[in-house]
């Protein structure tokens, strides 16, 4: 079964990648700092510029399915979505005006994509992508409980630094998988990268296995850990063989007995793994006794080199053994027997760090695997388009054929070829034709909507709601509050505010829920909550106060300013007349009128939806 799956992918990839000359199993250097990225617009082995590639492939899909794409998005719509997707907030009025006055107009979009990806916005970019990836790697609730091993600030600090430096993605993944050190920024041996794995190693590292496969390889393997899954029996070994890579990892916890067992320090390290047999329930298992012989730890009874196994239970109660084998079938036994033919057949299964460093081996295999770029491109595409080539993004494979297999494979190849430079991949996507389409549909493409369950054709921009983080940052940007509160304090306030939306289920799969999903609770927060109340405050010197008391602007200009700040557009004539009516009924009380107009703008569907 596993062989078939792997074969399917190999055939699928080979067919597409033959001309790209990228099909190499060579390991990427973990020390690669990304300086090797090519700078020409056309990449080695790829005959097209990736932007052209996207445009052609997507257009082809429209032709095949007889769809007419939507018209172009307006400048305001495009600018707004670009800011929201790259920086996680709406543009300010100053930025929007500057965007509109950019010349030559034909280069406007390219100039602004490069600007947002460049030094001017580096800090904001890094903070946005740090937030996105923190949620991917440890969820919205990870590290929010004082008993958690994860340090949320530690994870964020590491990611922020990584995105600030535009660290190549393969290097990032390698670091996350091999990290050792302490989780918290206050520790002397702090390594923020440890925070990905540190809370996933309990319960036989099942979560480490599941999340690594889902996030980095796009393979949903979670259910195959179960011994009672009738149709996944064949893949169960695959899960535990991947799991075996994590079993040298250990977490050391220091608690404060005075303070309700609060975790003072959590440190991730690698130690020799003696295999599972001697330590688990094992009523039917042989007891393994370890001895030192000739400086080497061996199993006394077997008198052989220590092969450190992992056991799992089949549905019928039978115990099975697993050793490290990657999802593509590469086993450490094979690899090490080729490398060190004189050390015996089982050498690659050794649990001794001095022999085999399993996490490092895994990280090498992951960054060399084509699943890495396929999963990355699919995830990144979904970020910008509201739908990946497969849904959900972390469950790729023959059972979920991608909507655009050729585009996915070629874009993935180009990404590897470009040294996993995330900003380049993002640049290709946002400069593409489908990204610039309006969200308004015509009769021809009304059905092209992932919410309707059809494979996406990307003939229109799919509506989606801002995430809670985007709303928060957008309100700050729109009211100019960014400048008034120090960055660190702002982050603390934001984290505290965000917590109201997420709840952990408390199950072993670390499931969680988020009510910032268009629910009534979310609406109550928008209509009446403190955040919007503050944004609508008429307090002295605040945003609305400044607009209201500005003598340079007429009432009409003030209303116009609010529309641009919230929606990146001018009010329509109908909207102006309604606002004027309000002003008249208030007998010119401009402050309160603007307050109510601003409140309505921030509560509108047009504001909360990315369109």
């Amino acid at each position: 079964m596993r062989v078939f799956r792997v074969l399917f992918w190999l055939v699928f990839l080979l067919a597409i990648l033959l001309d790209s000359a990228l099909f190499s199993w060579n390991r990427c250097s973990a020390e690669n700092t990304g300086s090797s990225a090519t700078t020409t617009s056309t990449l080695d082995g790829l005959s097209l510029d990736p932007v052209d590639l996207i445009n052609r492939q997507i257009r082809q899909g429209w032709q095949t399915h007889r769809i007419r794409p939507s018209r172009q998005a307006t400048e305001g719509e495009w600018c707004r979505r670009l800011f929201l997707d790259l920086l996680g907030r709406v543009p300010t009025v100053a930025e929007f005006d500057r965007y509109l006055s950019e010349r030559p107009a034909a280069d406007r979009r390219r100039i602004w994509v490069d600007r947002l990806l460049g030094p001017e916005y580096r800090e904001q970019y890094a903070r946005n992508w740090r937030t996105i990836w923190t949620n991917v790697l440890i969820g919205r609730t990870g590290g929010t409980n004082r008993r958690d091993r994860t340090s949320r600030p530690g994870m964020m600090q590491y990611l922020e630094e990584s995105f600030r430096a535009n660290k190549p993605y393969d290097q990032l993944v390698h670091e996350l998988l091999t990290a050792t050190g302490s989780t918290s920024p206050t520790a002397d041996d702090f390594n923020g990268a440890t925070n990905f794995l540190v809370d996933k190693l309990e319960d036989k590292a099942v979560q480490a296995t599941t999340k690594t496969a889902e996030i980095f390889l796009g393979l949903a393997v979670g259910c195959t850990q179960c011994h009672n899954h009738p149709f996944h029996e064949a893949r169960q070994n695959q899960f535990w063989e991947l799991n075996a890579f994590f079993r040298q990892a250990r977490v050391e916890i220091t608690r404060d007995p005075e303070d309700n067992g609060r975790i003072v320090k959590a440190t991730l390290a690698d130690v020799d793994f003696a295999g599972e047999a001697s330590q688990s329930s094992a009523d039917r298992r042989r007891k393994i006794v370890l001895e030192m012989r000739a400086g080497r730890l061996v199993d006394r009874d077997a008198a052989a080199m220590l092969a450190a196994p992992v056991f799992y239970e089949k549905r019928n109660g039978q115990l099975r053994v697993a050793y490290p084998v990657f999802v593509d079938g590469t086993s450490l036994v094979e690899k090490f027997s080729q490398k060190f033919p004189d050390r015996g057949d089982e050498y690659g299964n050794s649990g001794l760090l001095a022999d085999v460093h399993r996490r490092r081996e895994l990280a090498d295999l992951v960054v060399a695997s084509h699943f890495l770029e396929l999963a990355l491109v699919n995830r990144m595409w979904a970020h910008f388009f509201g739908s990946g080539f497969t849904r959900p993004v972390h469950d790729m494979g023959p059972h979920h054929p991608p909507s655009h297999p050729e585009l996915l494979a070629k874009l993935a190849a180009a990404t590897r070829s470009a040294g996993f430079d995330l900003k380049r991949l993002q640049r290709w996507i946002v400069l593409s034709e489908p990204y610039a389409l309006s969200s308004r549909h015509s009769r021809s493409n009304a059905k092209d909507d992932p919410a309707l369950g059809e494979p996406p054709r990307f003939s229109r921009f799919y509506l989606r709601q801002m995430r809670a983080e985007q709303l928060y940052e957008s309100l700050l940007a729109a009211t100019g509050a960014q400048q008034t509160v120090p960055a660190e304090r702002r982050e603390q306030l934001k984290e505290r505010w965000l917590r109201q939306f997420s709840t952990a289920f408390g199950t072993n799969d670390q499931g969680e829920t988020n009510i910032f999903n268009g629910s009534i609770s979310q609406e109550l927060m928008m209509l009446n909550g403190d955040l919007v109340k503050r944004a609508c405050s008429l307090g002295n010197g605040g945003f609305l106060d400044q607009v209201a008391t500005d003598r340079q602007r007429t009432p009409w200009e003030k209303i116009n300013y609010l529309y641009r700040a919230a929606l990146a557009r001018q009010p329509s004539s109908h909207e102006i007349s309604v606002c004027n009516e309000l002003l008249q009924s208030r007998e010119g009380d401009i402050g309160r009128s603007l307050q109510d107009i601003w409140w309505a703008l921030l509560n509108s569907n047009e504001f909360i939806l990315i369109h």
Partner: protein, 422 residues
């Protein structure tokens, strides 16, 4: 459209109801004419409700409802007789006294043993699909009982102390309203006077409608629908139903001053108010480790709250109109693992049902001597859902049209568990 002035001679409640509708420009509800909500007693005559007691994490039903004291893996607990047909765990003495009202289905057999997939399957009757989001129990029942909720100003689907699967293709108008077990609903007050609330609603309506008319997809109009419901709820006196702290201390003690206890008490208050579906969550059942020591504390909490709920509903004459369903996403392995825990097990487990037209005190189905296999006809999530719908008088011929245009049978075409009726 109303003008920018406060209409004179209109009661606050009427006015706010108008306010809600002006956001969407929906026709004012006929219920506007009813100035007084019918009394709880009257409601109980016509309104039907369902309470789902959701055991998040997957409870070890072999230790609760289908004990195997003679099996090697039966665990340390002892069974006791009840007022119904079956024996249950000795640690559930109060429930044992109520078992003439509840029935055990010991022949549940499902295939999803992953939390996320299991939760989806048990709460919707469908296995997860990348193309369709299926509506969960609460959304289906709220949708089908819409005619009884014309007077309802609070959401018809309430989830206490947790989160259920969503409304799927039925849309955010049927999404669960999530509250904690103390019934604290935040952000109810806009902090400006009625006249300005009215002005704001009008300004908002202009924006909402403009955008929703631009053919950008459902999300725009869904937003307006949720806004309307939110406005309604903000000023509703029915929000009192969430205030469990208004109950006499004696009643609170009866249910137990725990999250689950307060949740069950709130469920009863919501039933009295006419809410058709309430889910009360009790988590912490994912007992991979120390299953039995954990049960020592969990079982008394469950026993107290669930027995009080049943007794209370019966005493208040609400039992005939209220269906209660107790389940989790799956059961747990009959085999005990090395950490004195039980792992996920979907192949043979138990659910508990009662109320409405369901016969009480019965035991449906059986498992073999060590609980690893159902020996009678087995039942699925679809069957359980069909049974609940049937018990609530919802037709099983109901068919929905999913978002991708396909017809979809209510409860995925499950069959009613016949032994529970007649």
């Amino acid at each position: 459209m109303l003008p920018f002035t406060l209409p004179k001679g209109m009661s606050r409640r009427h006015f706010l109801r108008h306010l809600a509708h002006r956001v969407t420009l929906a026709a004012p509800s006929l219920a506007l004419a009813h100035s007084l909500r019918a009394q709880a007693a009257e409601l109980s005559q016509s309104h039907r409700s369902c309470i789902l007691l959701w055991m998040g994490g997957g409870p070890p039903t072999i230790d609760l409802w289908d004990m195997k004291p003679d099996a090697a893996t039966g665990g340390p607990f002892k069974p006791m007789g009840t007022n119904g047909a079956g024996q249950i765990n000795q640690q559930l003495p109060k429930l044992a006294m109520q078992m003439q009202h509840l029935s055990l289905v010991r022949s549940m057999s499902t295939r999803e043993a992953d939390h996320q997939r299991g939760r989806y399957y048990m709460q919707t009757g469908f296995v997860p699909s990348p193309n369709v989001q299926h509506p969960s129990y609460g959304a289906v029942i709220a949708h089908e009982l819409a005619s009884q909720t014309a007077d309802l100003e609070i959401p018809p689907f309430v989830s206490v102390g947790g989160m259920s699967e969503g409304p799927g293709f039925l849309g955010m108008g049927y999404a669960p309203f999530q509250v904690d077990s103390r019934g604290r609903v935040k952000n109810l007050d806009m902090g400006v006077d009625l006249a300005r609330q009215s002005d704001r609603a009008r300004l908002l309506a202009v924006l909402e409608q403009r955008f929703a008319r631009e053919d950008r997809g459902n999300a725009a109009s869904e937003h307006a629908k949720v806004l309307e419901k939110t406005f309604l709820l903000m000023t509703s006196s029915q929000m009192e139903a969430f205030r469990v702290d208004r109950e006499p201390e004696k009643v609170l003690q009866q249910y137990g001053d725990t999250n689950f206890g307060r949740g069950c008490l709130m469920a009863r208050r919501l039933v009295e108010t006419g809410v058709p579906f309430i889910e009360v969550n009790m988590g912490g059942w994912d007992l991979h480790q120390n299953c039995f020591t954990s049960l020592e504390t969990k079982l008394p909490e469950l026993d107290k709250a669930m027995s009080a709920l049943v007794e209370d509903l019966v005493q208040r004459g609400l039992w005939q109109n209220t269906v209660v369903l107790w389940m989790g996403e799956f059961g747990r392995t009959p085999r005990i693992n090395g950490n004195a825990g039980r792992d996920h097990w979907a192949r043979s487990w138990s659910a508990v049902v009662g109320g409405g037209d369901i016969g009480g005190g019965r035991v449906v189905g059986a498992t073999n001597e060590d609980g690893t296999r159902v020996t009678t006809e087995s039942y699925s999530s679809e069957d359980l859902m069909a049974t609940v719908c049937h018990a609530m008088g919802i037709s099983l011929h109901t068919t929905f049209t999913s978002n991708n245009g396909r017809p979809m049978k209510i409860a995925n075409g499950g069959k009613v568990i016949g032994e529970l009726f007649g």
